[in-house]
Subunit: 134 residues, 2 copies
Amino acid sequence: MFQRIDHVGIAVAELEPALALYAEEFGVELVHRELLCNGGVDAAVLSAGESQLELLAPLVGGTALARFLAKRGPGMHHIAYQVDDIEATLATLRACAVSLIDKVPRPGIRDSLVAFVHPSSCAGVLTEIVQTAS
Amino acid sequence: MFQRIDHVGIAVAELEPALALYAEEFGVELVHRELLCNGGVDAAVLSAGESQLELLAPLVGGTALARFLAKRGPGMHHIAYQVDDIEATLATLRACAVSLIDKVPRPGIRDSLVAFVHPSSCAGVLTEIVQTAS
């Protein structure tokens, strides 16, 4: 059901220093920038093989990401898996009594459809499923 | 320098329930089991595309992993990147004043050589570099 790791999300307070670190010192290539205005997130996507890193900085306070940073500091935020059919995957997860944060898909980065699954149903890992744009 | 994501490490208190969840409900295939006796870790490796998930449970108390779980609970523990030459990568990281937990490579899972980099030098992410067995 879950295919490859689409990306790992990393929460940072400020995007530019983290981007410089990963792109320039660690040699992980920047491939995309996007402002996710609805979620209040400034995002940078870096390519690490077939998976990606998503550096995420809050644009404003009071968002889920800003609260995460205030509570836990910067670090790993979520793991996202590519799925072929997000509606079918959500239906399967619901049938397994998995706790869904998003009961229906919503728009994600790069015109994808995404849904988040609660960490309590994923061994403590905030988990995202992603149906990439065709 | 950092190539593909080799694996994402997930800390869990007990391996079997987490393994059942990821393998049976999420359809992520178990490909390897290993007891890392030096580190006191019971590990299961699951395949998610070219990257893997590493479920890690402590065998005994008092280890770094047991302390992590006691402090933060289950969840994402580290991100590991494949590198071609771990000695050369460590030398480059040292030259960039990156804080290394392991100054020299040590044996990792599946006969790999690994070294950990301090989260303070990686935007809060405990980071592992892996030179896989040839």
